[in-house]
Amino acid sequence: MTGRERILAVLAGQGADHLPCMPITMTFASDILGAKYLQYVRDHRVMVDAQIKTAELFGFDYVSTISDPTREAADLGANIHWYEDRPPAINEELALLADKSVLSRLQASGPITGRRMEDRIRGIERLRELCGSELLVEGWVEGPCAEAADLRGINRLMMDFSDDPSFVHELFDFTLATAIDFAAAQINAGADLIGVGDAAASLVGPRIYNEFVWPWEKKLVDSIHANGGRVRLHICGNTRRILDGMGTLGCDLVDIDYPVPMDQARAQTGPQQTLAGNLDPVRDVRNGSPETIGQSLAEVLRQAGSRWIVAAGCEIVRDTPHENVRAMTSFAQSHAAHGMIQ
């Protein structure tokens, strides 16, 4: 089986020769290539080379175009801090929507404008071309809540939920439309799977999640499916209190971060949900050893059952020892993925 076939089989609830391995790498991959992270985020060719080199070196089953949260916001005109060797960040003080009234005048940006969103699309095309059907190609969009936080400033958004619910609804309509178009363009470019990063949602409780976040996430998931794509939902952090909702979005894959015990994630999302995770990127993966990583993964497998993909709860941090990352692939390669009993 190729990596792509292996992942697609497990997402479909079928068996595979072994478990797929899909750890998120960004700065880690850039370091593997020896590039500065600024080049990685600005030039898709650097990202593509780094992703392929990393996947080959460690035996991952996929390559991804996740890089930083600012692609959409940058194209919409947000003020971005650039760093030579770190991910760019949004200037929250000068957020595009620091003044709420700007929303009604804010021009939507299509994905193809020669800027940051298009760079990711070109990256997907190139990855598809170079990887053929060997590796799964993953696209990425900011989820409606995360993008709203990027545009408004996360500290402000957190209070808007109670101060001005109708503004939040309008804002989420805007960010949803951006995400739908960006995802569609990535599917067209050849992405097999679209990661939806909505980590800001991990900061709210079930009441706000159900009222404000879930309905918009659901529309995004449905739209990606209607356009022929698959969805990986990534809400890192402590999502224990919103997992019930996350499990009913119909995502093909749900990432679970380390603050959530995997058995609880399995119980709350049900036997049909494919899950990925959930080693602690710092304590387990960076600070651990190949032996402790093998033991931890065995325990996660026991709790998750085999509709599961080997990964850490979030990105592999850049100074992680290579043998520790290799231990994740070795574990995956030495365990068969059993299909669901139909």
Partner: protein, 212 residues
């Protein structure tokens, strides 16, 4: 006392307008600022912290409570300064250089403020030099640093070293926090304490103050 109960409720429910109005009314009725702080504000922020630990409250509720607390504090601070009353201790807080995550830091800052400490918030991406300058100029008893990225954690050590070089290290207690930080790390870099969340951070400051 109904006044203090109303302020307590206003902070707990994150109602800034009501917190402001009740505080104004209490001041006009002659209630001493320090009484409002100890009888309503501190217990309200304690309860907010408890509800967060129990996963009843989440970040939005914490930020709203913090804002309500601040709207009451704005009225009390000038009165306390005028009457020469001292807060129990002064704290300088910031997110370290290279790190823009400030939500946790903001929550710790407002919990400390709501617990009767004077808080000087330096913001995010604060250089070691800026921490040193603040310690020199403002003479705090505590320096609190927050970091959310493994790559910015070393900036906590750099800041402690800079305080050392400036000859200021012995004048302050240094506390650190943020999701990737641990007690072991605090020990390793020579900080005086670490705590996991905002309400235990308040407890930590209180206990270090009692020791001093």
């Amino acid at each position: 006392m109904t006044d203090s109960n109303e302020l307590y409720q206003a902070i707990l429910t994150g109602n800034a307008k009501k917190a402001h109005a009740t505080t104004q009314a209490a001041i006009e009725a002659g209630v001493a600022p320090m009484d409002l702080i100890t009888a309503s504000m501190v217990p309200a922020m304690d309860q907010v912290g408890r509800l967060f630990e129990e996963e009843e409250y989440f970040v939005p509720e914490l930020l709203l409570a913090g804002r309500a607390m601040k709207s009451a504090m704005e009225l009390l601070r000038p009165l306390m300064v005028a009457s020469g009353q001292k807060m129990s201790a002064r704290v300088v807080i910031g997110t370290v250089k290279g790190d823009l995550h400030d939500i946790g830091k903001n929550i710790v800052a407002s919990m400390l403020e709501g617990s009767g400490f004077e808080v000087i918030d330096l913001g995010a991406d604060v250089s070691p030099e800026a921490f040193v300058a603040a310690v020199e100029q403002r003479q705090p008893q505590f320096v609190c640093m927050s970091a959310l990225l493994t790559v910015t954690m070393p900036a906590m050590k750099t800041t402690i070293d800079a305080l050392m070089t400036a000859g200021l290290r012995n004048r302050v207690k240094v506390l650190i926090g943020g999701a990737p930080v641990t007690t072991e790390y605090a020990r390793e870099i020579g900080a005086d304490g670490y705590s996991e969340n905002a309400s235990t951070a308040v407890g930590l400051v209180r206990s270090l103050l009692a020791e001093a």
